[in-house]
């Protein structure tokens, strides 16, 4: 079977590509990725000596960087980047999408923070997961103490059925740990990093205070099995330390990003101050 008779596969998704134009871009029948025609020149349509880098989303011509206009189009509420060439008809057809502000893109670039953000995410994330596992273990351990050991009779009931108070207080602790976990993952998102870091510190203080209060209230120092308290304390200290370090990092990096954005705003005259000056 000759290669010409074979099905041409899309190099992106593996869907079939039907060649309708030999000297123009054809689209994959599945994912609509543009695929070169068999006789198509790979250079820019307007600059025959320059290798093309983009394809116009309107006319499907190959274009180089000089002929490219990038826009941000709102597709059903989702902002996606589209490219058009400098032909008037293509500009008119892409007019519904807003031009991408290249200068803003440069000033707002935060690739410099990738490494530190990765580190912060892992530190806070692992810490919060340890805290969560610790809380999940704590509730099971407390229920075990309440119902399956003689120590259960010594635990306070608060006038309720034995164990109910333990469950209520432990579930509140679990919710607090879940909030901590959810927030710890948000430190990776640029715009939430600073507030997440600050919120984590507050949540951590609350969690620690609540934990110490629970330990004292249930008089866990008197628990016959010393391993229970040791494991709890070790896990809690380890988790707290990680979350605390991660939160400080998130606040520090987040603040640097805030300063960068403020500078970008001033340079582009987009800040609130400059807008008020125009008033």
């Amino acid at each position: 079977m000759s290669s010409l008779q074979r099905m041409i596969m899309c190099p992106v998704c593996g869907g079939s590509v039907i060649i309708e134009h030999s000297d123009q871009v054809n689209l994959c029948t599945y994912c609509a990725s543009p695929i070169l025609g068999p006789n198509q020149n790979r250079n820019c349509t307007n600059h025959p000596d320059t290798l093309a880098t983009e394809v116009c989303h309107v006319c499907k011509d190959l274009i180089c960087d000089d002929c490219t206009e990038k826009r941000v189009g709102d597709y059903g509420g989702k902002l996606l980047t589209i490219v058009n060439c400098s032909k008037e008809s293509c500009i008119a057809a892409s007019d519904w999408a807003r031009p991408l502000n290249v200068e803003y893109q440069r000033l707002a670039n935060m690739d410099w923070a990738d490494k530190s953000d990765n580190f912060i995410l892992r530190i806070t994330g692992v810490g919060a997961v340890v805290m969560m596992i610790f809380e999940l273990y704590f509730i099971i351990g407390m229920l075990n103490l309440q119902y399956f050991t003689p120590f259960g009779s010594l635990l306070p009931t608060g006038g309720l059925f034995p164990g109910i108070l333990v469950i209520i207080l432990m579930v509140i602790g679990n919710i607090l740990a879940a909030v901590l976990l959810q927030t710890s993952l948000q430190v990776y998102v640029h715009e939430r990093q600073l507030t997440s870091g600050a919120f984590l510190i507050v949540a951590l203080i609350l969690e620690a205070a609540y934990l110490i209060w629970r330990g004292l209230y249930f008089n866990l120092v008197q628990v016959p099995d010393p391993l229970f308290l040791t494991i709890l304390l070790a896990a809690f200290l380890f988790g707290t330390m990680l979350v605390f370090i991660g939160s400080l990092g998130a606040i520090y990096i987040g603040n640097k990003k805030r300063i960068q954005m403020n500078r970008a705003m001033d340079q582009l005259n987009l800040s609130t101050k400059s807008a008020l000056k125009e008033l």
């Binding site: 079977m1 099905m7 041409i8 599945y30 994912c31 695929i35 989702k78 996606l80 994330g125 879940a178």
Partner: protein, 488 residues
Amino acid sequence: MPEENKVYTIFDRPFGLRFIGLLEMSFGAVGLLSTVGLLAALLTGNPEMLDGLGYIYALLIFVGVVIPNLIIGNYVDDLRKNAVIAQIIYSIIAMGLSGFFLAVRGIGYFWTVPLFEIELVLAIGNLAAMIFAAQVFIIMYLVFNWDKAVPPKGAKVVRDRGKARQMKRGLVLSPLAPTLIGSDGTTELTDEDSKRILDVRKVVTVEGMAILCSNCNGATPLTKVQDNRLQCDYCGVTLGISNVFVPCENHAEFLAATTCAVCGNHFCRKCLTAQEPPIDERWKGSTIFVCRTCFEGRYRPAVTTTSFVIPIDELFSTAGARFSSVSRIYRRFLGAYGGAMKHLWRLPLQLLSSLGKGRGSSDNCTGALIMMIIIIIAIPLIAGLLLLVGAIIIIPFLFYAGLVVVTIEAIKVISRTDFQSIDSVRIQSVIKKKTPKVKESTLRSDTRSWEQDFKSKSLAVQRKREIERRERMSRRNQDHSFVGGAGY
């Protein structure tokens, strides 16, 4: 799309329903084994076993356990309303019988069963307790998940696996079957051929920039491109060449497959993940490709994505939904109860009237009134309390399980496993022979442009405050000048 017009497939059934089906089938299989074993024992060794009632026991197990469990278990997980109703009724009966058995014999009851030369001690009490717990779980699950277990009236359900798979394929990340494709681009290769290709294929090449095959992921150098086509060195399929000759942003050794839909940069198959497309008539493809940065919501100019929101809010809403389900069931019960009361009224009223006519009528009347009060108040109250106790017991378990799931999800996020590149998904699907799972798009529904980033934040509020401040200032100045003028 209205729920009743939605087409359901066999793959839409919840995991719990599938588990119930398998559980019932396993009960049926164990019952069948017991029946055969009992009959064999009776026929070969001991006809007087079980006080001569062995055959009756065998028949009862076959009719009461084997047949209903195998039949209902086979149909209950096929999204069939009648099967689910039958399952609930059967579970209630089974629960009642096992509960009665436990009450009479206790949990410590056991049988000693001869098996060839040895004797087996069967903890029948424990078995009854397990059956009781299993039936309670089945009833609770089916009642609470009625909407998931039973499709809405009039909804079409495709139960044929082949058809269902085809329907699903319209939405999967790749149009390719989970097997390697032969050089003609259509024939599916045998396992041996697939294994040979996957074993020898290379993902890098020393001959400069390469293209990664969308079929086998092998890297074929660009020098072999002819007429803007390339034959994969390993599986032989003919690949088209993507629109431009630009290397991947992260891997200079690979030609970019396409651009990220969000940031517009060029990436190879290792750096892109597939997502469901936006619902917009301007978008032509059945999928979109997003790079890791945009997938993780870290592209600033037009932030549209994030994969860092784990479903904690769903956890609370699920727990809340359980309570609303309980109240819905209770309302349904009250409705049915009210309907039944029309008929129930007749009996106590007749009783009351007949008693009232007799001698010593005041005591009898009191008795009849108490009976009426019990019917009107006590029964709904007891039913409500039972439902509430059930909910209170089951919700903490669900909540705890939900927290465990949330923790697992968080671990996945931290280890970055939720970004699945299209090349790794392809090879996984070929190795596992499973079509990749359709994942919900992580594209955010609410988006903003770089302009909104600044302007919409506080500008409107600040502008209003500034105008108010200036108005106040001008008023104050006017007042001062008026007071000052009066002095002269």
